[in-house]
Symmetry: D2
Subunit: 353 residues, 4 copies
């Protein structure tokens, strides 16, 4: 914490601030400058309320110096966290990119299986599909619920895909944790601290989406909530933020990828489907995401997007996903990463039977 | 819904779109213009997925026309909703402004009583105090919990103040509903739809804060979630939105007051404490909020803000609150509203004993 | 300037940074903390390039402490600047609010005179009218040019109103300075530094509008450009900023009024017409602006807004302006300011002839 | 234009709006829906003032349908515009990417030559260097002026690099046009319409940067100003927009690349130096920009960024630029574009002499 005094502050003012700092149990370090004095504070646990000092006579500004996150920080753990799965060559944070693909909502067994087979053949190792949907309108389709989770469990068995799906609340969190491999916490719940804490007590990896107006620090602090309860397997996900720009549904902020990778050991993936909201921009932004060095992608794919029950406008077709995988594979090679070529032989053999 | 065709679209393209609209069960209305054709759609329930049409050849843009909110709209109910309380002359949405004041967090019985007496004497009819606090850091003070609620229930008995306090999740929602008069849903939970639905099944009024990056439509849709479950007593609250501006913690968007009042029958109050995050801007923005025609204020007051366990920087002192009430009372008169002069005689008599 | 070292920084790293600071000619002040060391820098003129240090091994962050503005700051001049005009009881920054009213564009002599008489009778002392218009489209009406300026000069003679009008470039700046009393620099030109410098060499007050995404510091620095050339009569104007919110054309950021008044001695007025872009929000936001303590208002008024050649949607009628003045006058009284009742007797007598 | 009536609107209201539309000289097309009526308008030139109608009884909203840009649109010209230069194999908009590199400011002949030789050897065909600098502070280094332009003209002769440099105002525009190959209009001047018009009368290509809070439509309209005066060679440039995110100086909005390419025939390049403001993010965002399909890059390079007179923090070193070119070349290949390997043989031979 640093207290900046105004140019008009008297020595008396400076002394009073120093005494206040001491009375709070910390140590003041006055630094007299040509125009004004600044006072460094040490000994605090990051918990000094700036307001206490900001309102004192002669104080111009109080600047916070230390960062509030701990467990997510490279200060605590320098090497990258890699989230792995038993009997699976897919991961997040490792050399191979984690590619997650599937429909916005699971709508039926047939729809889900059709899409799952296509994305598995294209090389994806993770299947996404909403069973519980956060919808802006209470009158919109809210997902198939547990029925949808069961379909996805079958998909895991059949296609070897690990399942990523969203939990909205306590009930769905418990259910999702039972069926899925990765529990997704959506953007609207990024600061639902009760849900984050409960997710922190799961023994399943959590994919945490950035809130629509979350700063980097808030994003990391949300992850910190999960880690602080003992769950260290968190995958961050950029999915676009809200700005004035109106040519996409959200503004995909790709620079957060290198920014997160500098400060934190956690993997970060990108969701260009929600990040743009427009089918015709998903391919170009997927290439861009991989080019920045992201640890994976989350892509909405539908075999018949015009009839999708939700988010049809941002879902790409299965053919477009094939094309995306080919392009992304080439971009990955440039940044010294890889993407699997197709489904594992074991799975292919099984399907062929 | 309106489909705008590009200038290059052929008659064939227009016909294909019209057929598609019919196949979806709606009725197309082509409007040929000098440069391009537009096609109106009727018969839909607001649920046409724009994406279906947006990707067709020759389509330039699809514009949604109808609004998704129903119950919150003046289309459904033209007169203002007034939220009243038994044996209480305070309300929200009526002629008299609803003034809610108190500390960010209830820290102790003594702290809460000291502040409650002061705000009651100044004319407030509602007491706010956090028992469950949403904190960015898992390591920060999280509130006193039920103990805090009990203290506030005592305050209601003693000072006649109705209690407004935040619920974070299912557990706290049930507890808060048991003790409080108004259940607050915070900005970070504005799109926590499970919580909203559960709040919609309460028989208590809900004060719903605008999310940090919520549009007017999203704000109204969040309220719609509550009303759709049968609870019609929702009080909206503007508390600042997130923008690039850095001279305040958030940007207080006062123009939403007349905007809400035009579209919806629900009352709307303003929280200039969170809206600015700066004690020295609370008075001026409180005056401004009342001048716009807001139905009330939510103010953080602390008898010793420098020692507050949370949000000290934005809490005003009890003396400042006295001053605020005097100023606000005068501004209210200009816009033909009133603010109570002091606590009711009954309460004053009781305290005096 | 403050350099914050990372938790992993070695003593060697700290020493290297201190030596670098000395080699740049400044003085380092290391402040060892529990977790990390911070290093204050003194002796610099605010010109240390943070990047030099930010890239050094072990450095986590560099925080700028001193503010770049000087002449606009209360550090240099504590008392308020009041912009006055000869033989005129209107001013900006004084006890009486500066009310500026008139059409978006001067469209004809008759239109301008009709509106001028109405706003003068209602108590305004300043007339605004665009002769040179910055339009998003090159195909839109661009203003009457010098012809419009001549009409406004006549209006000054007849109604005693001082003229405020915008200059877009060098040519129009020279022309506007010849005819007008206050030269307006629009939001889109707030960082047109060549124009600002040239305005700084005028002997006329300048009304400077905040840019659509200007921070408080950038706004003050733009004013500093004008003052640095010798023109100390600058009136700042908040006119809304660009955010994600879509219920108004811009988001009027009223909290900048107290923020400017804390840091700077310059007067600040508010333009709720551009700030909202909606006629039906101008009255409520005008009341709010005066309630915050603004030094004046800029209002678009048109006797027939439906036929206005520009910005009709945000112009209020003459009758609405009468109502606005009455409301604003009452709000002003609450914040110990005044608004003139009507035109001066001298003018009234003259018109009556 | 589409007028949406409220659910409560009477037939009388609808008729009045239709009559109003007719009286304005246009043709109304009422579309009765289940809940409300909408009225399409044809025959207008895009110039109907929405406000006229928006304020009428029973009108809920007026939606603009047609786009105001013409010459920049693919509606007018379907094939891509390619900006070429005589005796030069570099271009913008063609198969080969236009790579522009150089220091923020030209500081001396030696500095500029050192950097120019390095970027030419790495394969760049365009040299950027500021001679006239728009600085937030009037007290900061403002550039070398004409002296800097002369140095860059020498660089063209020696290294075969085409020169891209910014003009701030009329004087510098004329000077820059005399010496440079491409005239840059900076973000702060994107809506300086007088400057745009004057640039439209030049016979030199113009590189137009997106304003800090410009929408796609405003960006295209700014280009329209230049084209409307007869200069069709405009290169658009994304350089980051202003948002709440604070981990970079601006938020680089890469999705505007495919968005522009869909609507307009003009080339678009990306400036990741200003777009991030952080040296350590320039490489990753350059790769991403090329991966989206951008037509080129604008990169700040300095042989000794720690001593740069401006923007040192975002300039990369010459060695980093070599690395960037290698990475970008590989990414370009994936999207079927190329980047030159090194300077032309003719230039290499000349330098060797």
């Amino acid at each position: 914490m640093l207290v900046v005094m105004s140019a008009h502050a008297t020595e008396e003012n400076v002394r009073a601030v120093c005494e206040k700092i001491q009375s709070l149990g910390y140590r003041p370090h006055p630094i007299p400058g040509a125009e004004r004095t600044a006072i460094g504070i040490t000994g605090n646990q990051g918990a000094v309320e700036a307001g206490t000092l900001e309102q004192m006579t002669g104080v111009q500004e109080v600047i916070r110096v230390s960062k509030p996150y701990k467990l997510v920080s490279r200060d605590v753990k320098q090497e990258n966290t890699i989230v792995r799965f038993p009997d699976c060559d897919g991961s997040f944070g490792g050399h191979t990119l984690g590619i997650v693909a599937g429909p916005c909502s699971v709508e039926s067994r047939q729809q889900a299986f059709t899409i799952a087979e296509r994305v598995a053949r294209a090389g994806a190792r993770f299947f996404r599909g909403g069973a519980f949907k956060p919808r802006t309108s209470p009158y919109a389709f809210q997902g198939m619920g547990e029925e949808g989770l069961k379909i996805m469990a079958e998909i895991r068995d059949r296609f070897g895909l690990r399942i990523v799906t969203e939990a909205l609340d306590y009930e769905s969190l418990d259910l999702v944790a039972e069926y899925a491999d990765v529990v997704q916490i959506g953007a609207r719940n990024m600061q639902n601290y009760s849900l984050l804490k409960r997710a922190g007590r799961l023994r399943k990896p959590v994919l945490l989406k950035r809130g629509l107006s979350a700063t980097l620090e808030e994003f990391l602090m949300a992850a910190e909530y999960i880690l602080s309860e003992g769950n260290y397997e968190v995958i961050l996900c950029e999915r676009g933020v809200r700005t004035f720009a109106d040519h996409t549904r959200n503004t995909l902020d790709l620079s957060i990828v290198p920014a997160v990778q500098k400060l934190s050991h956690l993997p970060i993936v990108v969701d260009p489907s929600h990040g743009t909201g427009k089918r015709d921009k998903v391919l170009s932004m997927s290439r861009a995401a991989v080019a920045t060095g992201a640890d994976g992608l989350l892509i909405e794919v539908h075999h018949d997007p015009d009839r999708a029950l939700s988010d049809g406008a941002q879902s790409i077709t299965c053919d477009q996903f094939d094309e995306l995988m080919q392009e992304v594979r080439q971009i990955a090679a440039v940044v010294h990463r890889t993407v699997q070529e197709t489904m594992t032989q074991a799975v292919a053999a099984k399907i062929a039977i």
